[in-house]
């Protein structure tokens, strides 16, 4: 019976020692985490919260992002419009110059004839 009691006591000693150490480790872990987070918060305040953006493809706005138009292409397409207008106005200018030349020639001919 004495040996049994001694064995039990030894077991209790081991168990309580382990538990006590576990408590200390748990407290230490929480304290370190709190200190780390406080430092992170200070860093964050210093940088005014500036941070790299996270991927937003799985958010509530995913559909909006998936239908984002190509703005550069929209402007590039307008370039065609302007090129076309340039051509048209050039042709118009040439045609009018031609008609003006014809008009001037006709006037000179009629003056000469007159």
């Amino acid at each position: 019976a004495l040996d049994e009691s001694v064995a039990q006591i030894k077991e209790y000693i081991a168990r309580f020692t382990a538990e006590s150490q576990s408590w200390d480790q748990l407290l230490l872990r929480h304290r370190e985490t709190a200190e780390y987070m406080s430092r992170q918060l200070e860093e964050c305040r210093r940088s005014q919260g500036q941070a790299e953006p996270l991927s937003y493809l799985q958010t509530s706005q995913a559909q909006v992002f998936s239908t984002k138009p190509d703005y550069q292409k929209i402007l590039a397409d307008q370039g065609e419009v302007l090129s076309c207008m340039e051509l048209v106005l050039d042709e118009l200018q040439q045609a009018v110059k031609l008609l003006q030349a014809f008009s001037e020639d006709s006037r000179q001919y009629l003056r000469h004839l007159s």
């Binding site: 748990l26 407290l27 929480h30 985490t33 709190a34 987070m37 992170q40 919260g49």
Partner: protein
């Protein structure tokens, strides 16, 4: 001594842990509020 030490930790350590846990959570919340991701607009060439 070991029994008393362990029993005292069972009683008091949770309060201290709670304090640190609250501090951690408050810091996390504060950081979330301060979170300012910066997305650069694409350059649109004229």
């Amino acid at each position: 001594e070991l029994i008393v030490e362990t029993a005292t930790k069972r009683k008091q350590w949770p309060k201290k842990i709670l304090m640190h846990a609250i501090q951690t959570m408050k810091a996390e919340q504060e950081m979330l509020k301060l979170y300012q991701p910066f997305v650069t607009p694409e350059e649109i060439r004229s």
